[in-house]
């Protein structure tokens, strides 16, 4: 029978609530935890109430007598409906838990927490029978309609049937779980005896109802429902005795037909509270129920006796596999119950709604629908089905895709949130601006880290400035617009040298300042109308332009302006930000124009700014610090993750500054928040940087990380120099040295790990000098293939260097044109040619004169001027010198590799740098003696192909006459010429070499000597170099004597310039021991 569940009414306070009908069925009476008994006429009515005590645990009503178990451990009687107290029926040592009348109303049974069950005569309360035997509080009692037996359930797990007269236990079933108290019991186990025939006793056991037969006390059947999973609390019989209603924990209400054992009704409490009281109205058509929250509900429409209509073929409407789920009735095929439907209580949503949580199958199995379908009248059924079906359709489709995330508001980086009364308005490397905004006053405090910049300032914030920025020159403040006043920008230009140290400007109506920043001599404001306005620090308005989106924050440094703004709306917590980097120098340009700003997932921007050296960087809310990598095409590289050093999840670091040299991230650790409080004064901590490369725990990873970090953090040198700033050369060279050292270490590691391919790759990153070291390392460790490859690499590098130097040289030529003329005269008397003559010969002309240049001077090489020998000499020298300068600090080793390479390159027929030219010369030297002209020509043609071949010829010619004349001057010059390291060494060891191989020609001796010298350690060479240096300073260069002197043939190359400390001449790089 479809029944209607009415909305529940609030009846009592939370707690156990009981309900019963009065004899007429007109009133519903409830009692609850508030100690009241309420009398309802129907659910919509306002009840009358009687207070029976502090709490009312149970009630029973019959014959105008209301019996309640109250908290004063008594069972009281009140008249009904007046509610006048009518005496105390019985007492217990603790409260009674359940009271019930017998069917005639002559007796009352009460069970209590003191394990007793008492049966008291209504008429004479002194007549009591006490039934002892329970070992735990009594949960419920019920009278046999025939007054013979009393059934009780208790927390000791047993259900006992007593013989009342004998006060003995007839039978006891251990059905329930044992607990120690009523409140802990999983089920109240309110049992009920079938009225009328009294054949069956219904006992709720867990989620089923056991039916026991009277007399034999056999468990004859069980009523259950597959959908019932929770324990049943209470069962009541219908007055006719045919139906059994049960309420469960979880709020399910079921009604079974006892004969057919079918569940004919299922209902659920609208909120799912536990049903603890159930009463069937005497008419049999209503069930009142109460829950543990004190509410009262009604089920209407029950009680129509089922007719025996054959089951309609509803199966066709549903899947067959529903059977398993459906009740037995359906599977039987004959489900009389449902037929009743023809009575078209097509109650729709009320009872359908509770079913929606059920599975569709369950729904179809559920009787409500089923019943509707079973009805023979199809239209009714149909419409019922439709009506039933309609609410079951899912409601309007709900959008379940990604939701847009709120774009973050504009903020000043280095400030704490604006809603605080005491906040930091700006904390950067210059100082701190604090804002105080409580009820009394609104003030701004400016404090400088370096008190030399300016003394601390205290201002009253009459305009209500909310944005601030601080630089070495000025303090910039801005306030939002109000109804009367426009948004203002105020600048306290304290470094101004005139008397006016402050200016203010009104923004146009409708524009609010959203972000501001200061740079070197300028200020910028981003406004709410997507404009960016530039001002000079003195107050002159400059350019302005439109921003592509609402600004998030801005930062300025020197001539650079960095803006972060919203490019679009992000979804799912992501922010879509764009960044613009502008250069506001004389030549204004946009370096990054609106590219996306990469943030971590679902994070927002928390800080944006520049490092102290001018590299843009930013921090997101995940603690990742990213810096602009100019050398990698203006990409953003993460350099630090502050969360790595955070001990707990709620600790954050509030960034105040980033420095590249020394590498420091200055931030304030905040416990439990993202920003620090104003007081106590926060202490700045310094965090190191670490690139998140892979496997930084291994040695390789560590070195790689150090290398790339060094490269990244020294990018600013090249940037500064390109922008025309002075660069700290020492720092730059220091960093380069560091990087090369790291590369060398990585090289050594890779060698050790037999990763020669990697070695070559690493060598590509090295500078020329370090490649030589690498070659040496490789050859010493017998990795000849590697050494071979490295030498090829070195050659390439050398040629590259040469090209670069030629370019430089061209520039310098133009620069110092006048200078060479001057030099020329000085060098008139130069006698011999120097090694670089190789180069000059190629170009050309006579190179008799030994040009003398002081180290480090510029000379030009210009092909048009090559007529002059000095020029030629100079040219080669100058090229060499240029080279020297180009390489920074010349060192002994730097000369060597070049020479080596050039020599090798000569054999390979490649061009080489001037040094190489010198080397070439040296190689020529031994050759020169016997075959002076030809080798020269050869080398000339192979080496410098800069100038035309006519020069070659000239050199050839000049070479010849050179041979004789230099001999005498050679002597002189030789003495005068400073000795190179090799020369010194050769002198020392010549004897040993000749001793070993006496039949060597001079040339070979030299070769041998060179080979050995090369194999010497670098220190020894340096030693020689220093010796040579000393000599050089005081002597004129003598460059050609060695070539032509017989005995004095010294196969070394002496160069002008500092780098002339070259000691070894390597004929064959690949053969260390040649």
């Amino acid at each position: 029978m479809p029944c209607e569940r009415k909305t529940m009414r609030y009846g009592h306070s939370e707690g156990h609530t009981e309900v019963c009908f009065d004899d007429t069925g007109k009133f519903i009476v409830t009692c609850g935890n508030d100690g009241d008994v309420r009398i309802w006429e129907n659910l919509d009515d306002d009840p009358k109430f009687i207070t029976v005590g502090e709490k009312a645990y149970s009630l029973a009503l019959k014959n105008g007598k209301l019996v309640t178990a109250s908290s004063n451990n008594t069972v009281q009687i009140h008249t009904f409906p007046d509610g006048d107290p009518d005496g105390i029926l019985t007492r217990f040592t603790t409260n009674a838990t359940h009271v019930t009348f017998n069917s005639s109303g002559s007796r009352v049974a009460a069970g209590s927490s003191d394990f007793m069950v008492k049966v008291v005569e209504m008429s004479d309360s002194s007549q009591q029978k006490t039934l002892r035997g329970h070992e735990a509080p009594v949960l419920s009692v019920t009278f046999d309609p025939k007054d013979e037996f009393l059934a009780s359930s208790s927390c000791d797990g047993s259900v006992v049937v007593w013989n009342i007269e004998d006060q003995t236990q007839v039978i006891s079933w251990p059905l329930l779980q044992k607990t120690n108290d009523v409140s802990n019991a999983s089920s109240l186990c309110r049992l009920a005896w079938q009225p009328g025939a009294a054949k069956l006793l219904a006992v709720p056991v867990e989620s089923k109802v056991h039916l026991y037969e009277r007399g034999s006390w056999d468990h004859v059947s069980t009523l259950s429902d597959d959908l019932l999973t929770q324990p049943l609390n209470v069962v009541v019989w219908s007055p006719c005795g045919r139906f059994l209603a049960a309420g469960s924990v979880g709020g399910f209400l079921n009604v079974w037909d006892v004969n057919s054992k079918l569940c004919i009704e299922r209902q659920k409490h609208e909120k799912g509270f536990t049903v603890c009281g159930l009463a069937w109205s005497p008419s049999g058509s209503q069930i009142a129920y109460t829950d543990t929250e004190g509410c009262l509900g009604m089920l209407d429409g029950l009680g129509t006796p089922p007719t025996d209509k054959p089951a309609k073929d509803y199966d066709a409407l549903f899947d067959d596999d529903d059977d398993g789920v459906m009740d037995e009735g359906l599977s039987d095929g004959a489900s009389p119950v449902k037929k009743a439907v023809a009575a078209d209580d097509e109650e729709d949503d009320d009872f359908l709604m509770p079913l929606t949580p059920f599975a569709r199958h369950a729904d179809t199995g559920s009787l409500k629908l089923g019943q509707d379908k079973f009805g023979d009248d199809d239209d009714d059924a149909g419409s019922a089905v439709l009506a039933a079906a309609a609410p079951l359709l899912p409601p309007r489709p709900v959008y379940e895709g990604p939701l847009p995330s709120a774009p973050q508001k504009a903020f000043q980086p280095g400030s704490t949130p604006a809603h605080l009364t005491h906040r930091f308005m700006m904390w950067n490397s210059v100082g701190i601006v604090r804002g105080y905004n409580d009820e009394q006053d609104n003030a701004i405090d400016v404090e400088f880290h370096d008190s030399a910049v300016h003394h601390a300032m205290h201002l009253t914030n009459s305009l209500g400035h909310a944005l601030a920025d601080l630089s070495q020159e000025a303090v910039l403040l801005a306030c939002p617009s109000t109804d009367e006043l426009a948004s203002k920008l105020q600048c306290l230009h304290f470094s101004s040298w005139d008397t006016n140290k402050e200016w203010m400007v009104d923004l146009p109506q409708g524009e609010d300042a959203r972000a501001l920043c200061l740079g070197q001599g300028w200020a910028a404001v981003a406004t709410s109308s997507l404009m960016l306005r530039l001002f000079s620090v003195g107050g002159v308005q400059r350019e302005m332009f439109s921003l592509p989106g609402p600004v998030v924050c801005m930062a300025g440094h020197g001539e650079q302006l960095l803006i972060a703004y919203h490019r679009a709306t992000g979804f799912d917590g992501e922010q879509v930000l764009g960044v613009q980097l502008l250069q506001l120098s004389r030549r204004k340009r946009q370096i990054i124009s609106g590219e996306p700003l990469p943030l971590s997932r679902r994070s927002h921007l928390s800080w944006l700014g520049f490092t102290a050296e001018g590299t843009p960087c930013y921090v997101d809310s995940d603690g990742v610090v990213r810096m602009l990598n100019r050398s990698l095409g203006n990409t953003w590289t993460p350099v630090c993750n502050t969360r790595d050093t955070c001990k707990s999840k709620s600790d954050h670091y509030w960034v105040v500054g980033v420095h590249e040299n020394p590498q420091q991230l200055r931030c304030i650790p905040c416990k439990g928040s993202r920003y620090p409080p104003t007081l106590p004064r926060p202490a700045v901590a310094i965090l190191p940087f670490k690139l998140p490369l892979c496997q930084t725990s291994t040695e390789k990873g560590q070195m790689e990380e150090q290398f790339w970090r060094s490269v990244l953090f020294h990018n600013h040198h090249s940037f500064l120099s390109s922008s025309g700033y002075e660069v700290d050369e020492e720092a730059r060279s220091q960093s380069q040295k560091e990087q090369q050292e790291l590369l060398m270490k990585m090289f050594a590691l890779s060698c050790k790990l037999e990763r020669e391919f990697r070695c070559v790759e690493l060598a590509e990153l090295m500078t020329h000098n370090v490649v030589t070291l690498a070659i040496r390392y490789a050859s010493r460790s017998r990795r000849l293939a590697l050494a071979q490859r490295l030498s090829e690499l070195a050659l390439e590098k050398a040629s590259q260097i040469q090209e670069e130097e030629e370019e430089e040289e061209e520039e310098e030529k133009r620069q110092t044109a006048g200078y060479s003329g001057h030099r020329q005269q000085e060098e008139e008397e130069g006698e011999e040619r120097e090694e670089e003559e190789l180069r000059e010969e190629e170009e050309q002309q006579e190179t008799e004169e030994a040009a003398e240049t002081k180290p480090g001077q510029f000379h030009f090489v210009h092909s048009s001027e090559s007529e002059r020998s000095t020029e030629a000499a100079e040219s080669s020298l100058s090229v060499f010198d240029v080279q020297v300068l180009g390489s920074g600090k010349p060192s002994a080793s730097s000369g060597q590799p070049r020479v080596t390479n050039i020599l090798d390159s000569m054999t390979a027929g490649r061009k080489s740098a001037a040094l190489g030219g010198s080397a070439g010369k040296s190689s020529k030297n031994p050759v020169l003696k016997p075959l002076a002209p030809r080798p020269k020509t050869k080398t000339q043609s192979t080496l410098l192909q800069l100038t035309g071949s006519n020069k070659t010829k000239k050199s050839q010619e000049s070479a010849e006459p050179q041979v004789p004349p230099p001999a005498p001057p050679a002597e002189n010059t030789e003495n005068q010429r400073p000795k190179t390291g090799f020369q010194l060494w050769l002198e020392e060891n010549r004897k040993s070499i000749t001793a070993e191989q006496p039949d060597l020609e001079e040339m070979d001796v030299i070769k041998e000597a060179m080979g050995r010298f090369r194999a010497l350690s670098a220190e020894e060479r340096n030693e020689k170099a220093s010796d040579e240096c000393v000599e050089k300073r005081f002597k004129r260069r003598d460059y050609s004597s060695w070539r032509f002197s017989g005995e004095e043939f010294k196969g070394q190359i002496s160069f002008r310039g500092r780098s002339a400390q070259l000691k070894t001449i390597h004929f064959n790089k690949l053969n260390p021991n040649s």
Binding site: S429, G431, F448, H449, D450, S451, A452, R666, P680, A683, V684, I686
Partner: protein, 186 residues
Amino acid sequence: MDPSEVEFLAEKEMVKIIPNFSLDKIYLIGGDLGPFNPGLPVDVPVWLALNLKQRQKCRVIPPEWMDVEKLEEMRELERKEEAFTPVPSPYYMELTKLLLNHASDNIPKADEIRTLVKDIWDTRIAKLRLSADSFISQQEAHAKLDNLTLMEINTIRAFFLDSLNCMYKLRSNLQPGSATGQFTDF
């Protein structure tokens, strides 16, 4: 040794300050200091910190142990233990006095700290007196006291040594062989 000498030695301890000026690294005989960057903490000896503080060129950051809770714990521990407990710093008394006299505005709860340190000092001096007393009364030959600071030793040194010397003199005079009355002067 004079207490002022002990204080002088204590001034060599390092303490963190935040300067408000800029200075490159300075190379002193005792070691290198700096560089000083405004707003960044730097470790300097106490004598320099106090000097800078008096010239209003820095802010002193109290050492880690100069904290009310930590000192309270130390005080409880000191009271519980019979022997001397390890001290937060070998010059805790001097540092407290110096820093609280000159830089109390940079140290939170300065008065409480003063009281707590004084309590610790009193407890330790009391233990020291007791120990000296038992040493003499039981005529021990050796004693070993751990975790004493120079200042504490200094308070007892003069008296203790003199009294021991006197007692030696007296004792040696009591010996029969010393009836000649010859004793060396200390």
